[in-house]
Amino acid sequence: MSTATTSTNSEKVLDYFAIFGVPRKLWIEMSELEQKFLQMSWKLHPDNFVNATEQERELSLKRSSELNDAYRTLRDPIARVEYLLGIEGERKEGEKKQQAPPELLEEVFELNESLEELREARASGQDLTGLQARLETAEKSFQEKLGEVDAELQSAAREWDATLTVDSAARKKVMARLNELLNRRSYIRNLVTNVAKELGEV
């Protein structure tokens, strides 16, 4: 199992992109990623380590779980952006507090208020068919916003890939944009979930 042991020997912690030997790009060929994942999983399979030392077996298990995490993260376009911003130092859990721009907070606050009005209308036993229609309109509008933010994320992701070889100032700018979009997306996703919950209860 020389291939497996050489890859498990290295002490260096590889980031998820490096594990798959791909550049830190946000556009990833899915079928290629899947194929690499399957090949590497196969090499790390416990059956291949039956005669290995305990240490080697442990390492292969560790590598295998890392590989799974890496695949799960890179496969998901949103988790991929989040992860990239993390390793690039733009988005560190707990370390750097995320700030939302005031306009976004205003907008989210207002959307939440309108959702609350609908909730109260329901609680006070108002006409349910009318209410349902309003909730459906709200849901459609939130879904549209989610679609918009996803499209913007995609275009920012393409920009990131294009700046990979450009100066760091340009990359910083794209990263800030990606981060902002992720934050916006997380608010809108919440609204989508909440309105769906309301609709489920009507």
Partner: protein
Amino acid sequence: MAYSEKVVDHYNNPRNVGSLPKEDPNVGTGLVGAPECGDVMKLQMKINPETQVIEEAKFKTFGCGSAIASSSLATEWVKGKTVEEALSIKNTDIVRELSLPPVKIHCSVLAEDAIKAAIGDWKKKHGAEVPATEKASH
């Protein structure tokens, strides 16, 4: 979810829910959010410009129970305090009072930020009226 008794109490009987006129020169508004969890918190205070005492405080929070409890508690605490006293409230005080678990500490941070933002907004409104010497000391 295992919320502490105090959190449940504030959640079920939130104090000072509502809003104050945003345009009132004596009202400071703080709107803050935690994008990671999608919470938004609005905290408003009516401050007497003569005495610097916070005479009224209102909040409205869209978020989890801990975020609501933290902001409800914050409005209770700032009422009757001076601006300086209110600014000394730390998120850790809120954590202690509500026995917030580590995963909910960010809710208390949000409440502290909201207090600071509201007072900041009020100070900005009074920026022109604040004597230069006092302004320089900040």
